[in-house]
C-alpha cells in the first residue's frame, strides 16, 4: 500500500501557461519515512470540506487518490502566486453556479487576487491539474489502455456527433479506433469542463472536435446544428474561440487541455508546460510545447 502511494504520487502532473512564474518549493524536510509524512502533511493541508469529501470515497485507494488530488490543486495554485509564497492551506475554494470548482480569492487571507483558473482530472494512477491565467481551462486524462465495455462505434453513435462517428468509422483497426475514441473523449470532456456549465450545457453530440488539416496536433471545435435531422445538411459553425492541446503523459495516458481563447490573445498559439510533481518533494519539467 505504501508503494502504491508513491507511484501514484510520481504520476501527478501540473500543466500551466508561460506567464506564470513558478516559485521555489518549500525546502524538503527531513523525515524518517517520506510516505507517512506525505500522507500526514496532505491531510494537514486540506479543509474540513475536502476531508469530508475524501472520507466519502469508498475504499483506501480512492481515498488516497482524492487526498492527492486536493493536495495537488492546493500546492499547484499556491505556487503560482506572484510576489510572495502562499500557504496552500489558506486557499479557499467555491463552486460556480454550475458546480465547477474555482478559487475563492475574496475569502482567502494573504492571497493576492490573481486571475488564475484551474481544472483537475484523474484516473487510478495519474492526477493532472492545469492552471491558466485569465482564461478558463478544462483538462481530462484517461488511461490509454482503458477498455470500453461497449462497441466503440455504437457508443460513438449514441453520444458523439455525426462527423466524429464518420471519422471513427474510417479507422479499420479496432485498437486504433478505440484509442482515437479515447483521445476524442478527452478533448470533448476538456471542452465541457473548460466551459464550466455542466454536461448538459454542451451535450457531446452538439459539437464536433476535429483535427485541423495539415497539422498533426491541431484541433478545432465546430458546433453542429441540432435543428436539421438530416446529417448531410448539418450546418456547422466553427470558431477559433477554443484551443486544444492533446498530450500523452507518462506513456500511459492521453490527456487534453482546452482553453478559451482570450480576446487579447486572439490567434496566439498556446504554450503548454508539463511538469511532473510530487508536492513538496519533487518537481521536474517534462515538456514545453506550442499548440496552434
Amino acid at each position: 500500500m505504501r508503494i502504491s502511494v508513491m507511484s501514484q504520487m510520481q504520476r501527478s502532473f501540473s500543466i500551466d501557461l508561460p506567464s506564470l512564474i513558478p516559485l521555489q518549493l518549500p525546502s524538503r524536510r527531513h523525515v524518517p519515512h517520506p510516505t507517512f509524512w506525505l500522507i500526514g502533511f496532505e491531510a494537514y493541508l486540506l479543509s474540513q470540506t475536502e476531508k469530508d469529501g475524501v472520507d466519502q470515497m469508498r475504499g483506501d485507494e480512492l481515498k488516497k487518490n482524492a487526498l492527492l488530488a486536493r493536495t495537488l490543486v492546493r500546492t499547484t495554485v499556491a505556487r503560482y502566486q506572484t510576489n510572495k509564497e502562499v500557504d496552500p492551506r489558506s486557499l479557499m475554494f467555491k463552486k460556480n453556479v454550475y458546480g465547477k470548482p474555482e478559487v475563492d480569492w475574496q475569502n482567502c487571507k494573504n492571497c493576492n487576487h490573481q486571475p488564475l483558473h484551474f481544472n483537475i482530472s484523474h484516473t487510478d494512477s495519474l492526477i493532472a491539474c492545469g492552471v491558466t491565467v485569465h482564461v478558463p481551462v478544462g483538462i481530462d486524462v484517461e488511461d490509454k489502455e482503458r477498455k470500453i465495455k461497449h462497441d466503440v462505434l455504437a457508443f460513438a453513435k449514441r453520444f458523439y456527433s455525426a462527423d466524429e462517428v464518420n471519422f471513427l468509422a474510417t479507422i479499420p483497426d479496432p485498437e486504433a479506433q478505440r484509442k482515437e475514441f479515447i483521445k476524442l473523449w478527452t478533448l470533448k470532456e476538456a471542452y465541457v469542463k473548460a466551459l464550466g456549465k455542466g454536461f448538459s450545457a454542451a451535450p457531446f453530440n452538439t459539437f464536433t472536435i476535429q483535427s485541423i488539416p495539415g497539422t498533426e496536433e491541431g484541433y478545432s471545435l465546430c458546433k453542429t446544428s441540432e435543428v436539421t435531422a438530416d446529417p448531410l445538411e448539418e450546418t456547422k459553425k466553427c470558431n477559433g474561440e477554443w484551443k486544444f492541446a492533446p498530450l500523452e503523459l507518462a506513456d500511459s495516458h492521453y490527456a487534453a487541455v482546452c482553453i478559451e481563447d482570450d480576446q487579447a490573445n486572439e490567434g496566439a498559439p498556446m504554450r503548454v508546460i508539463v511538469r511532473k510533481t510530487i508536492p513538496f518533494v519533487e518537481d521536474q519539467l517534462i515538456s514545453e510545447r506550442i499548440f496552434l
Binding site: R58, S121, F159, E189
Partner: protein, 136 residues
C-alpha cells in the same frame, strides 16, 4: 400502462425537494382521471414521480455499476452509493447510462443522465422511463 398506485406513495427520494413531493401529492388524487396519453404529452406534468424503485431494479442497477467499475463481487453497494465515491469518472457514468438503456430498453436524455449520481437515482429514473413507454 400507468401503474402509479396512488395509495402507496412511499417516497424514498432524498434528492427530491419537498416542493416537488407536495406537487405530486396534490396531483395524485386526480391522476387516475388523466388519460395516459395526455399525461405523457404534457412536459410540465413530467415531474420525476420517483417512488422508491423496486428492489430488483436497484439490484440490477447495482450489478451494472459493479461490472462497469470492476468492483469486487462482495463490494457493499447501497442504494445511496454515489458513483463518484465508487471511483466512476465521466466516461464510466456514460457507459453505465448506456448499459442501463440497453438493459431496460429505455432512452435517457442528457439532462436526466447528468442528474443521476447514485444507484437509487438511476433506479428511480429507469422505472419512471419504463413506466412512460407507450404500452406495447
Amino acid at each position: 400502462m400507468a401503474s402509479l398506485s396512488a395509495t402507496s406513495l412511499s417516497f424514498k427520494a432524498p434528492s427530491i425537494q419537498s416542493t416537488r413531493i407536495s406537487q405530486v401529492l396534490r396531483k395524485a388524487s386526480t391522476f387516475q382521471s388523466i388519460s395516459f396519453g395526455r399525461f405523457q404529452s404534457s412536459k410540465s406534468l413530467r415531474l420525476q414521480i420517483s417512488c422508491a424503485a423496486k428492489p430488483e431494479t436497484v439490484q440490477k442497477v447495482s450489478d451494472i455499476v459493479k461490472e462497469q467499475l470492476a468492483l469486487s463481487a462482495d463490494t457493499a453497494l447501497t442504494a445511496e452509493s454515489k458513483f463518484s465515491a465508487l471511483g466512476a469518472d465521466s466516461l464510466d457514468t456514460v457507459e453505465i447510462v448506456m448499459a442501463l438503456e440497453e438493459k431496460f430498453n429505455i432512452s435517457v436524455e442528457e439532462a436526466d443522465a447528468q442528474n443521476i449520481t447514485t444507484i437509487q437515482e438511476a433506479a428511480d429514473l429507469i422505472e419512471d422511463l419504463v413506466q412512460k413507454k407507450p404500452a406495447a
